[in-house]
């Protein structure tokens, strides 16, 4: 565990906490970008360069921008006067804390049986391309179909209804 890991972990967790806790919705979206950037750095630290840069391109470049667009289109940047949290937040908080306790307990008590590969894997983008075009070609095609369907579906759902069109 190096200093770099602790720095990146603190950055990601702080960004995630700010994204969930801040009152202004636009600030939440910006904090979410920080959390995504921290996670991308963590992927790079884990020698998964392709996944790290895909995370930067897709999450910071596309999803965060989409969230900001949605906030501005729905006027969600206006902070509501009667609070941003639900009226009974205790149930959700207890559920989340319980799940974190169970997960943390499981992680801390299973370290002895987990495999421990210390050699650095050498994976080039060419290997990933060969795998995508060989062993994983069917999932790739299904994801392509899913993305096309999601694109068409999102446009249809968000399209303006014409007056008297129903």
């Amino acid at each position: 565990m190096s200093f770099v890991f602790y720095f990146i972990a603190a950055l990601s967790v702080a960004g995630a906490l700010a994204a969930v806790l801040l009152k202004n919705t636009v600030h939440c979206a910006l904090a979410l970008t920080v959390a995504f950037a921290g996670l991308a750095m963590m992927f790079l630290e884990l020698d998964a360069q392709f996944a790290g840069f895909a995370q930067i391109l897709i999450y910071i470049g596309a999803v965060a921008i989409l969230v900001v667009f949605a906030i501005l289109l729905t006027r969600g940047s206006e902070t509501p006067t009667d609070g941003v949290f639900s009226r009974k937040p205790l149930i959700g908080l207890v559920t989340a804390a319980g799940i974190f306790a169970v997960l943390g307990w499981a992680v801390l008590h299973s370290t002895q049986v987990l495999p421990h590969e210390m050699t650095k894997p050498t994976v080039t983008v060419m290997d990933i391309g060969n795998a995508l075009m060989g062993r994983y070609v069917l999932p790739l095609e299904i994801v392509a179909l899913l993305l096309t369907a999601a694109l068409i579906g999102a446009v249809i759902v968000a399209m303006h209804e014409k007056a008297g069109a129903r």
């Binding site: 919705t25 959390a35 906030i71 289109l73 729905t74 937040p89 997960l103 992680v107 421990h116 993305l147």
Partner: protein
């Protein structure tokens, strides 16, 4: 047993913490967009788990965990696009994104 020696433990704990934060956000926020942000955080925590297990697992050259994470990122992008489109349409219809105010499915 000193758990801080194993680097995998650290990544798994960070992923568990991010998942819990995202779940708490999705369960307690009232704005529908913030609920989607919480869901994105949970998906990212799962991706971190996949990549960490790929890196410290027995056969990293098989690329299994990395491929799973890449496909998961693609599915999450599709989910975000459709979810935010739905939120925009609901706001156009009901003039609110407050989930407590959306208590009927009839148009």
């Amino acid at each position: 047993m000193n758990p801080s020696v194993n680097p995998l433990t650290g990544y798994l704990l960070v992923a568990a913490l991010l998942f819990a934060i995202g779940l708490a956000g999705a369960l307690t926020r009232r704005n529908a967009i913030l609920v989607l942000i919480g869901i994105e955080l949970m998906l990212n925590a799962a991706n971190l788990n996949l990549i960490a297990f790929w890196r410290y697992g027995p056969h990293p050259e098989a690329l299994t965990g990395m491929m799973f994470a890449i496909f998961s990122i693609a599915v999450a992008a599709a989910e975000a696009a459709v979810g935010l489109g739905l939120v925009i349409q609901i706001h156009r219809h009901a003039k609110t994104t407050d989930l407590d105010a959306m208590n009927r499915m009839k148009g």
